[in-house]
């Protein structure tokens, strides 16, 4: 038997070298980046020591002029080119803008593909582009602090985000050159930040049920989770991805408009000013019982009680969603052990009081509600990237909205129900309804309503080439697969002929892969060498990861799972990869060899996975036997 040389002395990538992993909370109002340092999560502040980055981007004619606090300063002086709260537009279609647009004082254009864009002096920009600027800024902050390229990031999304909104978030990260380890639901991230440190989980049988109430600037989530030692199981989630503190501001701004007799239509400057006054009034009323205002030569007084009348309906909507989630979780409200408050809007005493009343519990907010999501995301990023192999953590999350297909008469047939644990794969059979029908169009929708028109349309595609048959005799299997990010893949197959059509669900108003590649290239076009260098560096990181990974795998399982020739074949391709890694500066060549190694190791990977299933259960029976 050939003796295997696992690695040349001194040249193996150091397995214990820490990787740069961060958690990013891309918020409606503020965004943050956090990492794990010496075992605990820390927010990475900017050079002035500020944790938050306002989610604001200011454009000038040459492009982005600034992001964050600096950009926010242009809010009233240059409102049309100062973009804030764009998260509300992320993954939205033109129709949504009509309902949301009123509250967002921008000029929209929808010239291509149906994705709304915002007109600025620089040109029309998509919400994905704007979000990517915020992400790029945060990634830059992290790279500077951590001293090197990021190996990966966990980016949080509202649990109630649909497929289009999740995809848009992921596209924004790709556009910013960030490797996304996982999209993580915000309430789940908060639960991680709170839950992992809890001492009471030492006992395997001890379980706790917690509710995470997350009211941010533009989104609301409620998640009910069951926590037991290291396992975070989401039982149900609900919410509203277009309800948040912004809406409180608008309610107060409307009141101001009426009180000030300003008429129905305001220009963008007036709108911005009113919103800013409304926002600061809201914040002041969290501390004081009343606020005196002096605007447009008018003195106004707003009391706390009066504000409550303006916003109570909105809070009530969140409570209804809470009740529904409790029912979906199939538990009773009084079996919830703890309620956690997350998101800046939970700082309002009225919100906390209403939540407390509903659950009959004093809510917990020992971690700053603005920071907790980023901290939980950092914790998961650290585990996912491989820095913390001892963390015995498992997240079982769910999809927030049912996934379905359009059937006859504009009705939705659900294929995957809301609150199903992900990842999940489900298939359903359909048939043709006309003699000789050779094509079938498939309309993928998301939502819980009966009518397709009330659901979110995710994608349309067509299965062609069905052999002509009598109506009803074709068997068309439509398969839905949702991955751990909550992203959907759909494929359709005619079973008797094997004709197949597959689609990665890319919403019609999202970006195509080629568009993303093009935009990425454009962003580097002024520095071609930069781009090449970055691409090379990325492939080198990938090559190192692969070498380290496969060498460890061969050492562990090579002898038992591969025969001599398989082992040798794999070893040869690995050696070639190592050669290229050290000698080439052509990133395409390196990428090609990575592909070769990937292909060669597929069978090995599959066998290892089967082996680990056996091993996991065998370990369990041993535990049982020892009990």
């Amino acid at each position: 038997m050939a003796l295997l040389q696992i690695s040349e002395p001194g040249q193996s990538p150091q397995p214990h070298q820490r990787k740069n992993a961060v958690g990013i909370d891309l918020g409606t109002t503020n965004s943050l980046v956090a990492t794990v340092r010496s075992g605990s999560e820390v927010i990475l502040p900017d050079e002035q020591g500020r944790d938050l980055l306002p989610s604001v981007v200011h454009y000038e004619s040459e492009g982005v002029s600034c992001v964050g606090y600096e950009a926010a300063e242009h809010n009233s002086s240059d409102p049309l080119n100062t973009l804030s709260s764009v998260k509300r537009l992320l993954g939205r279609g033109v129709a949504d803008i009509k309902t949301l647009g009123d509250s967002l004082p921008y000029e929209f254009t929808t010239d291509d593909g149906g994705m709304p864009k915002i007109n600025t002096v620089y040109g029309a920009v998509s919400p994905i582009q704007v979000s990517s600027e915020i992400l790029r800024k945060l990634a830059g902050r992290a790279e500077l602090t951590l001293g090197g390229m990021l190996d990966g990031a966990v980016i949080t999304v509202p649990a109630y985000f649909d497929d289009a909104q999740r995809q848009a978030t992921k596209d924004a990260a790709t556009l910013a050159g960030i490797k996304v380890l996982r999209l993580l639901n915000e309430p789940t991230a908060a639960a991680i930040a709170y839950g992992l440190d809890a001492e009471e989980f030492d006992d395997e049988s001890h379980q706790r049920t917690i509710a995470v109430y997350d009211l941010g600037g533009g989104t609301f989530d409620i998640s009910i989770l069951r926590l037991s030692k290291g396992v975070f199981e989401v039982l149900a989630t609900g919410g509203n991805s277009a309800l948040g503190g912004d809406d409180f501001d608008h309610a107060i701004a409307n009141w101001l408009r009426t009180e000030l007799d300003m008429g129905e239509t305001l220009d963008v400057y007036e709108q911005r000013v009113l919103l800013e006054v409304a926002k600061s009034t809201k914040e002041e009323l969290s501390i004081n019982n009343q606020v005196e205002l002096d605007i447009l030569d008018t003195r106004l007084v707003l009391t706390r009680d009066c504000m409550h009348q303006l916003i109570d309906d909105l809070i009530e909507q969140t409570l209804t969603a809470c009740k529904r989630s409790i029912r979906d979780a199939n538990i009773k409200a009084d079996s919830i052990d703890e309620v956690v408050l997350v998101g800046g809007s939970t700082r309002m005493p009225r919100v906390a009081a209403k939540v407390s009343e509903l659950f009959g519990l004093e809510p917990k907010c020992t971690i700053d509600p603005d920071l907790v999501v980023a901290m939980g995301a950092a914790k998961q990023a650290d585990v996912l990237v491989g820095n913390n192999s001892t963390a015995d953590m498992l997240l079982l999350d769910v999809i927030p909205l049912s996934l379905g297909i359009e059937t006859m008469g504009g009705l939705t047939e659900k294929i995957i129900h809301r609150n199903t644990t992900i990842p999940v794969a489900k298939a359903q059979e359909f048939t043709t309804f006309k003699d000789g029908q050779t094509a079938m169009s498939i309309h993928v929708v998301q939502g819980d309503r009966e009518l397709v028109s009330d659901c979110r349309s995710l994608a349309r595609f067509e299965l062609r080439g069905i052999p002509p048959m009598v109506a009803g005799s074709a068997k068309i299997q439509v398969s839905y697969q949702v991955d751990a990010d909550g992203l959907l893949n759909v494929s359709a197959r005619e079973l008797s002929s094997g004709v197949e059509s597959r689609i990665e669900v890319k919403p019609s108003y999202g970006l195509s892969d080629t568009e993303i590649t093009q935009m990425l290239q454009d962003s580097f076009s002024h520095a071609r060498d930069d781009m090449r260098l970055r691409a090379l560096r990325e492939q080198q990181v990938e090559a190192d990861r692969m070498l380290e990974d496969l060498r460890a795998a061969i050492e562990k399982d090579g002898q038992s799972l591969l025969d001599d020739s398989e082992l040798q074949c794999l070893q040869v391709t690995l050696d070639e990869l190592k050669q290229l890694r050290d000698n080439t500066d052509d990133h395409r060549q390196l990428a090609a060899q990575i592909e070769v190694v990937g292909k060669t190791s597929e069978e090995f990977a599959a066998r290892r996975m089967d082996a680990s299933i056996k091993q996991a259960l065998a370990g369990l029976s041993l535990d049982d036997a020892l009990k």
């Binding site: 996982r182 498992l394 644990t421 999940v424 990974d549 370990g619």
Partner: protein, 176 residues
């Protein structure tokens, strides 16, 4: 994952109606801890895909066994009998009559004064009916009386749909 395994084998459980749910939970979590895509986040695309598929199969197996209706269907499918939802109906006239009466009772509750209390007692009755049908299925399945088992499966669908409708009305009343 090895596709020849049935859902029970995935958890090393015997193919049977009776399930030790505590064992199922422990094994489910153990498997997911080892195979969840989070464990493969740092691997190459092929391994990531494999992990998604495997974890999805484990989730589906877990759900199928946990839910009595899908478990009953699956047990019959394992006997090579087509248990997909539309193919069987019950011919038990008395059962159908009872179901009609129950549905009428539910419809009347909607407008009534003490709706919540009435709903609770109807819910208890419905749960008892469902439990009875399930135990009938269990013994028919065990005796390989598959025709009768199909009949029970059809009844189970009625009973569980009815419980769903009760829950829906309960939700409606709560939101008012």
């Amino acid at each position: 994952m090895n596709n020849s395994k049935n859902f029970f084998e995935i958890f090393s459980l015997a193919v049977a109606w009776e399930v030790d749910f505590e064992q199922l939970d422990i094994k489910f979590r153990t498997l997911q801890k080892a195979l969840h895509p989070d464990r493969y986040a740092n691997k190459n695309d092929f391994e990531k895909r494999l992990a998604v598929q495997t974890a999805a199969t484990i989730n589906q197996a877990y759900e199928t066994i946990k839910n009595p209706l899908s478990r009953a269907q699956y047990l019959l499918e394992l006997e090579d009998l087509d248990a997909s939802q539309e193919t069987h109906i019950t011919s038990d006239g008395q059962f159908l009559m009872d179901q009609m009466l129950l549905r009428e009772a539910l419809a009347e509750i909607r407008g009534s004064e003490n709706a919540k209390e009435a709903l609770v007692s109807l819910s208890i009755e419905a749960q008892q009916t469902a439990a009875k049908i399930q135990s009938e299925f269990a013994s028919q399945y065990q005796q390989k009386a598959y025709n009768e088992a199909f009949e029970s499966l059809a009844k189970m669908q009625f009973a569980i749909k009815f419980i769903d409708d009760i829950n829906e009305l309960e939700a409606e009343l709560e939101d008012l």
